[in-house]
């Protein structure tokens, strides 16, 4: 069972307390954007075997959203952090790089 630290209320929450919310840091494309961008925003996912940034909601706790950086192949959790950001904070990127030498953040256009 996954245990994630909720940065909003400080609780170490069990998976059963949490609701997964999919890939984080998607750039939103709405009306007026190209079909290609809108399609990618809605459907195309990175789905990596390795470092993944994702959204979670502390559904049966404080109810708030947060972000997690996790390895999908080992289930290692690198960090959880505020949802009020469009990119992972530098400290989170450093924590991942320390564990996964050579890994870099993609910086989507």
């Amino acid at each position: 069972m996954l245990i994630l630290h909720c940065p909003n209320c400080g609780v170490d929450a069990d998976e059963t307390e949490l609701a997964p919310g999919g890939q984080a840091h998607l750039k939103r494309f709405g009306p007026g954007s190209s079909d290609e961008d809108f399609h990618d925003y809605l459907f195309a996912r990175e789905n990596p075997r390795g470092v993944h940034f994702e959204r979670w909601r502390h559904a049966h706790g404080c109810g708030k959203w947060f972000h997690a950086a996790r390895d999908t192949a080992t289930l290692e959790v690198f960090a959880t952090y505020s949802a009020q950001t469009t990119e992972p904070p530098q400290a989170v990127l450093d924590a991942i790089a320390a564990r996964r030498p050579g890994w870099t953040w993609r910086h989507e256009s």
Partner: protein, 414 residues
Amino acid sequence: MKRYSAFAVAREALRNHKGWGRAWAAPEPKRHYDVIIVGAGGHGLATAYYLGRNFGITNVAVLEKGWLGGGNTGRNTTIIRSNYLQDPSAAIYEKARSLYETLSQDLNYNVMYSPRGVMMLAQTQAEVRGYRRTAHANALQGVQTEWISPARVKELVPIINIDGPRYPVLGALWQARGGTARHDAVAWGYARACSAMGMHIIQQCEVTGIRRENGRVAGVDTTRGAIACDKLGLVVAGHSGVLAEMAGFRLPIESVALQALVSEPIKPCMDVVVMANTVHGYMSQSDKGEMVIGGGADGFNNYTQRGSFHHVEETVRALVETFPMISRLKMLRQWGGIVDMTGDRSPILSKTPLEGCFINCGWGTGGFKSIPGSGWGMAELMATGESALTRAFGLERFREGRFIDESVAAGVAH
């Protein structure tokens, strides 16, 4: 290839079974093939088989990073049915189910297809309406299913409790020619038939890169060296995202773990497959007597082929209400597989943005039943560039908004 028959069994019995030989060859990879299929699960092997059988294309290699059938094909609960709602799904799943009927004879390999009947319980009013609608749709599609009463459910499955307090059984969608098959045997049977046509099945050969030349596919890099090809088929289920990245595109797919478990073996008590979708549980009894139980999937991206205990608990808790007699059963084994979930929960059989590269994936929690039909359609698509069976399952449907909305039938498991 030596044919298997009653006569062969008798002959071998008389000479200490020394004359059987390998079921499939283990050749060294060549430098070039007309077609390379990545992934020796059921879908990859069936694609190769029908390329040879229906189109005479036999200069084919199937590359597998682990062992043949070691992915979801060898980890599933083997339910076979074709009672889907939408026409494109009914067509490909029914094609598959009908091929299963004679697959043992076609492959000369016993895949133990057992059309024992599949029952989908309706335990809410919404399900009653949904399954009645499916039964009507199936009648129009030529798929034989029927809506049955709670009394008939009880008659077919005496161990069921039809008036449970929370989820009484209100009826069921019944497909008498649905059932189960031996999962490993499906992979082994196709592999043996492919090998007999001269195809190369190369195990422990992981594809690590995809080579491109002038905008089209040129070959693959593998842990056993570079291999060139004219056409490439990616058939790797949960690892589709990883292979797509090598080929330079992204997919509407997320990989999650789905798990199953089996009980200790008991005397025969249930000779049909029962699915209870409201409570996310389904069950059948294997020939060895174990109750085979499947449940829900994780909701987050996961590449570890494990499960988690709380899913087991949820599933078993739900089933105990409907089958009170299993409450004292001990569970023997539990395992997981990585399933590939698409945006509309229907599969993808398609050309890709990379010329010459095709993909077959997104079968998610329910693609064992479709192996023969999927291989049939995929082979046609790869050989001719077009297939009536696969047309509706192209990647472009997500951009064009032409979803195949089967989530009612395939959103959970099986």
